[in-house]
Symmetry: C2
Subunit: 486 residues, 2 copies
Amino acid sequence: MMNETRTWEWSAEEIRRFGYRVVDEITEHLTRLPTSPVFRPFPPDLAERYLNEPPPTEGAPADDILTAFKEDIEPYPFGNGHPRFFGWVNSPPAVIGVFADALAAAMNPSCAGGNHAAIYVERQVLDWFKQIVGFSRDSMGLLVSGGSMAALTALAVARHAKCGFDIRSKGLQFSPRRLVFYKTSEGHGCNQKAIEVLGIGSENLRIITHDSAFKMIPAELDRVIERDLREGNVPVAVIASVGTVNTGAIDPVEEIADICARRNVWLHVDGAYGAPAILSTKYGPALGALKRADSLAVDPHKWLYVPVEAGLVLVKDAELMRSAFSLVPPYLRTDGSTSGVGGLPWFSEYGFQQTRAFRALKVWMALKHHGLSGYRRAIDADITLAEYLAKSIDASPDLELCRPQSLSIVCFRFAPARLKQNPQALESLNKTILETIQLSGRAFLSSTVLNGKFWLRACIVNPRARLEHMDELVELIRQTGLQCET
Amino acid sequence: MMNETRTWEWSAEEIRRFGYRVVDEITEHLTRLPTSPVFRPFPPDLAERYLNEPPPTEGAPADDILTAFKEDIEPYPFGNGHPRFFGWVNSPPAVIGVFADALAAAMNPSCAGGNHAAIYVERQVLDWFKQIVGFSRDSMGLLVSGGSMAALTALAVARHAKCGFDIRSKGLQFSPRRLVFYKTSEGHGCNQKAIEVLGIGSENLRIITHDSAFKMIPAELDRVIERDLREGNVPVAVIASVGTVNTGAIDPVEEIADICARRNVWLHVDGAYGAPAILSTKYGPALGALKRADSLAVDPHKWLYVPVEAGLVLVKDAELMRSAFSLVPPYLRTDGSTSGVGGLPWFSEYGFQQTRAFRALKVWMALKHHGLSGYRRAIDADITLAEYLAKSIDASPDLELCRPQSLSIVCFRFAPARLKQNPQALESLNKTILETIQLSGRAFLSSTVLNGKFWLRACIVNPRARLEHMDELVELIRQTGLQCET
């Protein structure tokens, strides 16, 4: 039990002393990671304790709590700080972003709006992203929790823009016609979730056929839009993917943009994972088409290595974005100024959240520290590693590569010749390999299903990954495959 | 310009050294706050610079970036760390929460699900809140960005539960009947925004009359629900406020719950600000009714002093919550186990986000450090200070108190006898007082409009606020009022 007032009043000495201990712990965690197991499950007895401990009646010293962190929590990470973590699209945290989150929490502003520093940092970050992807300066955006919230924000603006009535007051129940959206089956599930939350209904999300490279077929899109128009439906928005989460496929944005322009349909580009590849040498030129989107989602917490949560949404028509969300009547809105208390137009008028964290700081510090050139090198390196891994797999007679390989994702499976004609055995074996590797702590892969087949999946979004990690992975899969087979 | 590899590879020494500098900066910021101006606008020349700086091509040393933070950002906070900040409902950050955010960012897990420590910490935090408000153990919840996202989550579940058809696939356009929701005009705007995003339309959000204490009138609610039923509409959910943001009014939850039970309507309680008062001596007994809600929003980043973003939503029927959001077909869902890689049922099946930050850690560490008893003392103290401020204002002949005062909010205005009959002059004068005080840096108030009148508004959610700060505020308002009048 503690002294009554002590917990709220920390002296400078206490803050500094405890802070240093926290930094020591962070240092140890980040330094020890590469030589620790990638993953080990939270021990069942500890799990039981955590699921049954009552709320603390009395307070405890901060040092005791840090010790509990050190003993119970730090040893059981998700794994994505490790250079042999290849699961999902989860990058390790840029070190400077870790400390930026502490600075942001110490200032603890509400970034709804106002005339304080955090607002200008977020404005600057948004302006930088506009320039990176080729949006004009008078477009608008927001930092959000991630790709899901970016999708919800952008698609809400699209719905508002294209529905043809006052959706905000009337609601969809009023709609005389069916509002429809478009994506391929490879488009991320968060877009379907957004469609459902928005009240559109997933039946009104048309699944456009993709080609053998998992890319949307523009002619198919056009055909389905035409059919909807003929049936009296309202084509609202196409959701194109730049970097699908399964294979890193990039939908043909330029051709889709042409169709959207001709058909007067909103183009939302889900670049949560892949949009930063616009900085890369290989994919940069093709991704120049990003500037044609009406809205764009990109997650700095994915391929820009910023700690979660750091999502970002850009909307080309700033006033439309504002009119989709603002609760301030137009006659009371201010154009904003950089003097006085009110500051620039409030972020909370352009999106769903009111109180908003200072998540801009970690994006800002990471971009300043690494620079666009540092990011280009890191992203190029990830792409090179993925291509190297794909080649190694392709050169291995007992491994099968899923083609085409794109961005920094590689899908493959263990497929020795003697099992090639036995799809069920192959699937079962690869599932066993996956779990065995995950539990071994020697690497972490995720999986997916493509063309009805089960695949192991490696995503390389780690500036500390090296060629030798790829070699180790191939060897580990082969070893594990042989071991699991017997 | 920097060495190519240096920015991604930080040695233990570099992490520690830079981290210590960050801690020094945090220490200085938190220690200097009480003697610095509460607020000063971001300087216009600096604003222009931030609005025009191009993205950084080359990286810069972390130390330079920290220096820029120290010079450009740290001196211009939002203000809520200061004991004389009384604006909106923004608390200062609990120190331990600041460092928890750094630890969380260093581990940087995705809390979609899995069998790593962060998941169990969030489970424990959710279980603690269930116990605090009287929800059963088999209810479910999530940490979310804040009250807005809590409202969206809860009302999406309510819509799913009550609409009478498969809303997720069919969408609202399919609805044969009008879905309607209920709140008073004092209910927070985030609920209207949620209604609009959900596609319901704000015309279908009925505004229930409140009494002179700004509390929903249950008989009115019942009358409007009855009318809707008569008209063939579907009453979906009542949004009751526990602590309105304007006056801290608490809707009569018990009576509203009776009506909801009788009418088969979902009861969502927006306790974003006020729910923690269940720990208080004065409001605790009345808030025992929170346990009757079907869903509840509470923001630990408000009256539990956790750094933003830390919102929380609880939903009594866990399976309903899951079926409203899960994209995993029921036959593939797992009940979860505390062994293996998969872990417990995934959080991402119970809400809108996929990748989710480890925001549970700051709530967990703050609750452990302060304990329920520490929170009870701090919340009781805030309430006592607000009552003391209200009494001081009431005892001042030139100040007018807006009655009744509730929770830790006090609304009032400068109203010398000679202006009492001149409402326009009073409004204009108080607007000038507000801006003068905000720009003076001596205190920070917000404002509101109640009963057609403009009021100054103080919200005390600060464990470091003291009686003398209340005395200073009253004196400051009187001085400023006299000065602005002349």
